[in-house]
């Protein structure tokens, strides 16, 4: 069951559709970034935004195509690393780089503006991200994702989108003075995000039987090795989350909410 470390490092899985989608996304982003964003009001967006977005896509590549992604059907723990990378690293980086490109949402159709406003309300954002994380980690849904590449892709897309929405109220775009202006609200929001993912991680860590039975059928796996892998996976969901949220607290607490962009 234990992989050969050297072979493992080179075990990349190049998924052509995903690769093309990521390249197209990067090219479109660079063009928009160079143009100064959408809409009539353009401005230099800064190299930091470009770097953040590019790094965000890079993390997606590492999560899904590197040995981490290539082996996620053999090891639950690696699968959990991929999920961590998507929700805690890629999502905020993509948001940090991507949101300023929109400039504002005035150019969007009104129903879309309204939908965005609802989705990014902190209660909705937290509930949605929590629901997506928990539903996809329910053993039947998880097993279904392992059986089908398309469902598996949808699962990862759900995590990415769900957590872009979760981080949105904290990484407030300049035109949207969000709900989380006060430090109390930001601290509570971060704690709520941390507690739900920690609870999920703890439940997986301490479960006494193998939850995701597909891992029992991996060549070389035994019930004991699958359970050990599951415990590690739960800890990977749980322990680093606290570090991520502590770092997020350092980055987002105490910052004054930006002033609304003048429409003149």
């Amino acid at each position: 069951m234990r992989p050969d470390p050297v072979a493992f490092v080179w075990e990349w899985e190049w998924a052509t559709p995903l690769g093309i989608a990521l390249i197209v996304t990067q090219v479109v982003y660079v063009l928009l970034w160079a143009r100064g964003g959408f809409g009539p009001r353009r401005a230099h967006l800064g190299w930091g935004r470009l770097v953040a977005f590019t790094l965000g896509l890079g993390v997606v590549v590492i999560a899904l195509m590197s040995p981490i992604g290539a082996n996620d059907e053999r090891f639950l723990s690696l699968h959990m690393v991929a999920h961590d990378l998507l929700i805690w690293i890629a999502a905020p980086l993509l948001l940090l780089g991507g949101v300023p490109v929109l400039r504002d949402t005035d150019w969007l159709p009104r129903p879309l503006q309204r939908a965005l406003a609802i989705l990014t309300h902190p209660v909705v954002a937290w509930s949605l991200s929590t629901a997506l994380l928990w539903v996809w980690h329910a053993p039947p849904a998880y097993g279904f994702a392992l059986e089908s590449d398309i469902v598996h892709g949808v699962e990862h897309l759900c995590f990415l989108v769900g957590y872009v929405i979760y981080w949105w109220p904290l990484i407030v775009p300049p035109w949207d003075i969000g709900w989380l202006r006060g430090n109390t609200a930001r601290a509570l929001y971060l704690l709520a995000g941390m507690v739900q993912s920690a609870l999920l991680g703890a439940l997986i860590t301490f479960h006494r039987t193998v939850l995701y039975t597909a891992y029992l059928h991996v060549p070389g796996a035994t019930p004991a090795s699958a359970l050990a892998d599951q415990r590690l996976a739960g800890a990977i969901m749980w322990f680093p989350g606290a570090v991520v949220f502590a770092i997020a607290a350092i980055l987002v607490i105490g910052k004054r909410a930006p002033q609304p962009v003048s429409s003149s």
């Binding site: 930001r186 704690l191 607490i253």
Partner: protein
């Protein structure tokens, strides 16, 4: 609910809670958040404690596994909760004259609460039940919990310690900056000149206490690191750990944390009481020496928990006995005599806050006496594993530190909201005091009859003490509910009182 102002800040030498232009409003808001989180967690941990007492009385029997899980969480959670409430109050009190960063304090809260989450999940979900003292090697050899649960508990402690470290460094730097150096924040020149050299401006007692507490917090976290790093390396299979080394370091960490929570809340008395007595609490030489000595003495007495370990060097045991006596006396006498002198013929109006502060002083006295007795080696060898030990620490925690924290919370809410507590609420400290005293007295009686502590299953002849304690717990709960209800009604107004401030 009256809207008349409660405590005055106009008497000379008394520092109002709100700085001019409400410049410290943002810090007061964090202080309130700490108090809510700390005292809210205290109530939840109290419910767990009640279940333990019900089990010991035979009224509601828990399985041994659940008893020890709850015992572990109750212990760890109580220390962390009361310390958190005290830290919030202390930051609020210090911020009246010292510039603190609300941002740092919020970050501390997130990190600290992350740690508490780990301990809750490790015990309730992971079944970790090795006691809050996490004495090596038991945590890593659990038969009913996994290594992951033990690691989660340790990581929880790590996060709490990190939060405390960040808080302590911030407070220490801020107070030192205000007075032009650490030595001046500790009033060392004034101390060593026996009170003659007054060239440096003296810190307020609460700022002196904040500096002292911060130094000891950093020392405690250092000891915690010296404990945790080898434990993590042991868990990774890199090294083995000497059990006595582990026990000593974990007690320097844990015992100091528990002591910190008491001394932090005692510091709040210095900040709040003058507002009610309309007399300033000056930084006298006695106050300075008493609190500066705490820096060393608080770290020297941990070994009184290790008297039963024959391998512990005798010198450390003697140091523990001397340190235990010494740590109790100066701060104890100075604080109690100072508080009584402030109250005597002051015309103090006995609202809820001063009632709770006075209750805390008496709880501290009786708990401290119980602790001094227990730290006497021949007594300890008989009493240490009996209910006498929970008796003494429940006395100075529940009737001391917690009463101080609730009292300071009432003081803050009254000051910030400009409202008085409900007349009916003045019954609550009485219920709290009577319920708490009855509950704790039964621990003392059980200890005197050699009923062992940390036993999930109690013999029929031991159950009578817990049975008598149960109604007192209900009275205590009624008192606490009254306090919480009053605060809930006025909290919004207090919160608003901190807003529209500079630097928010």
């Amino acid at each position: 609910m009256d809207t008349a102002h409660v405590a005055t800040a106009e008497a000379p030498g008394i520092t109002p809670l709100l700085a001019p232009d409400r410049a410290n409003g943002a810090v007061l808001r964090v202080g309130l958040a700490y108090l809510v989180a700390g005292l809210g967690s205290f109530l939840l941990m109290g419910v767990l404690g009640f279940f333990m007492r019900l089990d010991q009385s035979g009224i509601f029997v828990l399985s041994a596994q659940w008893f020890y899980r709850i015992m572990t969480l109750h212990g760890a959670g109580m220390v962390a909760s009361i310390l958190l409430a005290g830290l919030g109050g202390l930051a609020a009190a210090v911020s009246a004259t010292t510039r603190l960063s609300a941002r740092v304090l919020w970050i501390v809260l997130v990190i600290y609460m992350a740690g508490m989450t780990f301990t809750i999940f490790a015990t309730l979900l992971g079944g970790f039940a090795a006691g809050w003292t996490v004495l090596y090697p038991l945590p890593t050899h659990g038969l009913v919990w996994s290594l992951a649960a033990a690691l989660a508990m340790y990581v929880g402690y790590l996060f709490v310690a990190l939060g405390l470290l960040l808080y302590a460094v911030h407070i220490l730097v801020a107070v030192s900056r205000t007075y032009g150096g650490l030595g001046k924040a500790l009033a060392l020149r004034y101390l060593f000149s026996f009170g003659r050299d007054r060239r440096d401006p003296l810190p307020r007692p609460v700022e002196l206490i904040a500096a002292v507490i911060s130094i000891d917090s950093i020392a405690a976290v250092t000891a915690g690191t010296l404990y945790l790093v080898p434990i993590f390396l042991h868990a990774a299979g890199v090294m083995t750990v000497d059990a006595l080394y582990a026990k000593d370091t974990v007690y320097i960490f844990g015992h100091t944390m528990a002591n910190l929570s008491i001394y932090v809340t005692a510091g709040l008395v210095y900040a709040a009481l003058p507002s009610f007595t309309k007399r300033a609490w000056p930084t006298t030489w006695a106050v300075v020496i008493a609190w500066d000595l705490i820096i060393i003495l608080m770290l020297a007495n941990f070994s009184h928990h290790i008297y039963a370990d024959f391998a512990q060097p005798v010198g450390l045991q003697l140091l523990a006995e001397i340190g235990s006596y010494a740590v109790a006396l100066p701060s104890f006498i100075v604080t109690i005599i100072g508080a009584l002198a402030l109250i005597y013929r002051s015309g103090l109006r006995w609202t809820v806050a001063p009632m709770l502060l006075a209750l805390g002083i008496w709880g501290w006295v009786f708990g401290g006496l119980g602790a001094v007795l227990d730290s006497t080696i021949p007594v300890n060898q008989v009493m240490h594993n009996t209910m006498w030990v929970p008796a003494h620490f429940h006395t100075y925690y529940l009737l001391g530190a917690v009463a101080f924290a609730w009292g300071y919370f009432f003081y803050m809410v009254a000051e910030l909201s400009g409202t008085r507590d409900l007349t009916l609420t003045r019954l609550a400290p009485w219920l709290y005091g009577i319920g708490g005293a009855g509950f704790i007295f039964m621990f003392f009686v059980a200890g005197a009859h050699s009923v062992p502590r940390r036993y999930a299953v109690h013999l029929a002849q031991w159950q009578i003490y817990a049975r008598i304690a149960v109604p007192f717990v209900l009275v205590l709960a009624l008192g606490l509910a009254g306090l919480a209800w009053d605060l809930m009604l006025r909290f919004r107004a207090a919160w608003r009182g901190t807003q529209h401030v500079v630097g928010s």
